[in-house]
């Protein structure tokens, strides 16, 4: 850009351009004003009944009380008038107030002698006589931040993220003995693992997304998470490859990218586990965690696959392992203590975008290797083996 020496006619030209830009905007304002002035073009747009929506973002069970974190996703302010638990009208308090503005939040606290493992249906009735229900499948005390709760969540994150990733990486010496074909197969396997993880993450993201109130456009949020993350990782990868171009460095970078992608995915996974634990759903089975450990071993495999022909330092291996596994811990913290459906949706989508991008990177690497001696069936069977491996280990989780 050159800003020096603007001539008067240039200024006039710019003003004209600005006017051209503003002209439709002014017209738009006029059209909206006309629409409002004519009472919605003569259509009576008053709804027959008040449109009210409410989303239960988080349910916290503490000793002798149930805490509902609600968000008003309707067009107007709503007012919580009464509450019922298990077909019983109960007293409650609402902070900051019973009146919740559009997109505003409130915490409704209901003193109630809930019992471990029982199911509860909670209903909130608004001043316009609209009823909203939330369900607790199996009540258990919500872990609170600090103390044993914090330690517990850290341990779960450690179990499902860090340990399996490092265990998977212990295959490193074994993998080094493999021939070229086996190596290609292994890379293809990694692609399969990642694709499966990505598809699964999209599904989970969408599941949470459907539950967001319509103003939050859950599916759009999933799209933003996936596209944004994938393009960002792509941009980051390209930005680096311009500096050092040798093959070894590239493969190391890919290993780092795989680890980062898997790490982001594990963050989303940890979030899901954390929030499930905090609302007592995961109390339905520790089998769940065992399943995750089995599945995530394969992630360690994926991280070391690109660098199996190299001699990475232990420090490097520890670094990529931590990058891939440790975010699960952060995920369980967020999920357990601060998760909202919006955050969950976004993190799951980010994880999906990350693993898709990494699968694409490894795919490119495979294609490059393909140039010398194509092995289409090796690639196919590798990808399939990866996806099936995830499917079978997934049987334990779902």
């Amino acid at each position: 850009m050159h800003t020096a020496g603007i001539k008067p006619e240039e200024t006039a030209g710019r003003l004209r351009t600005l006017a051209y830009f503003l002209f439709p905007v002014v017209l738009l304002a006029a059209v909206i004003a006309l629409f409002l002035a004519t009472d919605g073009a003569g259509l009576n747009v008053e709804p027959a009944a008040p449109i009210e929506n409410l989303v239960f973002e988080r349910i916290v069970l503490i000793n002798g009380a149930i805490e509902l974190h609600i968000r008003n996703t309707s067009p107007e302010t709503i007012e919580i008038a009464q509450a019922a638990v298990k077909d019983m009208i109960v007293g409650f308090s609402a902070l900051p107030a019973r009146r919740v503005p559009r997109l505003g939040k409130a915490v409704v606290t209901i003193p109630y002698p809930w019992v471990d493992a029982e199911a509860y249906e909670i209903r909130l009735i608004t001043s316009n006589a609209v009823v909203f229900a939330a369900a607790i499948e199996a009540a258990s005390e919500t872990r609170t931040f600090g103390g044993t709760g914090f330690l517990g969540f850290t341990l779960i994150g450690f179990y499902v993220g860090v340990i399996p990733v490092f265990l998977g990486m212990l295959w490193f010496p074994a993998l080094r003995k493999l021939g070229r074909r086996a190596f290609i197969w292994l890379m293809a396997l990694t692609v399969g693992l990642l694709l499966f993880l990505g598809i699964d993450a999209v599904n989970e993201a969408l599941e949470v997304a459907w539950e967001l109130g319509s103003p939050f456009q859950g599916v759009g949020l999933v799209g933003i998470g996936i596209v944004g993350t994938a393009l960002l990782l792509d941009a980051l990868g390209k930005g680096q490859s311009g500096e050092t171009g040798n093959e070894e460095g590239k493969r190391r970078r890919i290993a780092v990218m795989v680890a980062l992608g898997i790490g982001l995915h594990n963050l989303g996974e940890g979030l899901a586990i954390g929030s499930a634990y905090s609302v007592g759903e995961a109390a339905l089975g520790t089998f769940f965690v065992i399943g995750f450990i089995l599945q995530n071993i394969t992630e360690g495999l994926g991280i070391i696959a690109p660098i199996v022909k190299q001699r990475p330092t232990l420090r490097f291996l520890a670094g990529v392992g931590a990058l891939g596994g440790a975010p699960a811990i952060a995920g369980t913290w967020i999920g357990g203590f601060a998760s909202t459906p919006i955050l969950s949706t976004l993190f799951l989508a980010i994880g999906a975008g990350a693993v898709f991008e990494v699968a694409y990177e490894i795919g490119k690497l495979l294609k490059k290797g393909d140039g010398k001696e194509p092995m289409p069936l090796t690639v196919w069977s590798g990808v399939m083996a990866g996806m099936l491996l995830m499917y079978l280990t997934g049987l334990l989780i779902k």
């Binding site: 008038a81 009208i89 930005g239 311009g242």
Partner: protein, 342 residues
């Protein structure tokens, strides 16, 4: 933008987006509790405190002035009609019923569009003596067709079934007061469940010619439900329409006084209703059509439109519950108290 700027700008955009989402739109602090429901101090103190007896019920009050009727006065509000004597010496009683829509605060803070006779639910308790000639002029001041269907003995044309009264129209029901007892009346226009549960129901008491033993207290109680969200399931239950009203405002009676309750079940959607009296037994006269009690008990059940008369006295002073013994109904509003005083 060059490559470096892009790599910075993108995460920056993303982070700000995240922060925006996690903060959400914080509602402004509002302390106006507008007199609905319980106050803050109550519930804050209550969380985890052993002092909190986990009793169901509202902490707020409905605005009976704005509603235009008070469940306490409905208990004893009997409409004997405009009385005159016919040429044959019989008593003529003339009543007015007017169907109208009314926004009512049915529970503290909850507004509901009720369909009413004379602006109140339950409708006026019409009262006559066996054999009287009844003339009930019905005006429909609502935007829907309605009728009045009495559970008494009368000609087909007076049944409130085949002669729906259009908005703005009127109809006069004319029949003899038979048989004696307590009977419901309600609108009989389809869809019936909606017309009834919206509030178009009440009781008619026909006293036997020879009368009943003199009672110290006579109360009418109509049991019903409230389907707030129109999903064919009741969200709240009540006796005389306002849930928990007599729980918050105990009905005062005297020890050793004869209490007579005219009990009618107009509950829609649920199979049956019940009445349980605490720490006491009552004589139960099903439909009130015999002067001899059919049962001596503390709990009775009534299907839709079933009704009966309860008679009892309390020996000891104190607070006594009465409620549906279907606990769900009781905890969702069908609970009341008698305050027995010396």
């Amino acid at each position: 933008m060059n490559g470096k700027m892009k790599t910075i700008a993108y995460p920056a955009f993303f982070c700000s987006f995240l922060i925006l989402l996690s903060c959400g739109v914080e509602p402004k602090q509002e302390h106006a509790e507008s007199g609905m429901g319980q106050t803050m101090s109550h519930t804050v103190a209550v969380a985890g405190s052993a002092e909190m007896a986990f009793m169901p019920g509202f902490r707020g009050e409905v605005d009976t002035v704005a509603n235009g009727f008070d469940p306490m006065s409905i208990l004893t509000d009997f409409d004997y009609g405009r009385v005159s004597t016919l040429p044959d010496g019989r008593t003529l009683r003339e009543y007015e019923l007017r169907a109208e829509i009314k926004q009512l605060e049915v529970a503290p803070g909850i507004m509901y569009e009720a369909w009413t006779y004379n602006g109140r639910v339950p409708a006026p308790t019409l009262r006559a003596t066996e054999g009287d000639r009844l003339l009930i002029r019905f005006v429909n001041a609502s935007p829907h067709p309605h009728t009045v269907h009495f559970h008494t003995i009368h000609p087909a044309g007076m049944d409130g079934v085949f002669e729906p009264v259009p908005p703005g129209g009127s109809f006069t029901y004319e029949f003899d007061a038979v048989p004696f007892g307590v009977h419901p009346y309600h609108c009989h226009v389809m869809p019936l469940a909606s017309h009834i549960s919206r509030g178009l129901y009440g009781a008619i008491i026909i006293d036997p010619k020879q009368g009943r033993p003199k009672a110290d207290h006579e109360f009418v109680m109509v049991m019903s439900g409230l389907d707030l969200d129109f999903d064919e399931a009741n969200d709240l239950y009540a006796v005389n329409f306002i849930p928990f009203y007599y729980d918050r405002h105990p009905i005062k009676i005297k020890t050793n006084a004869l209490v007579r309750i005219y009990l009618v079940n107009m509950l829609e959607f649920d199979q049956s209703n019940s009445f349980h009296l605490h720490a006491n037994f009552f004589n139960y006269y099903p439909t009130g059509t015999f002067l001899v009690a059919g049962e001596y008990t503390d709990t009775i059940a009534q299907m839709q439109a079933q009704r009966g008369i309860l008679e009892f006295t309390y020996t000891y002073p104190g607070l006594y519950m009465f409620h549906a013994h279907k606990t769900e109904f009781a905890e969702l509003g069908w609970t009341g108290l008698f305050e027995v005083e010396e």
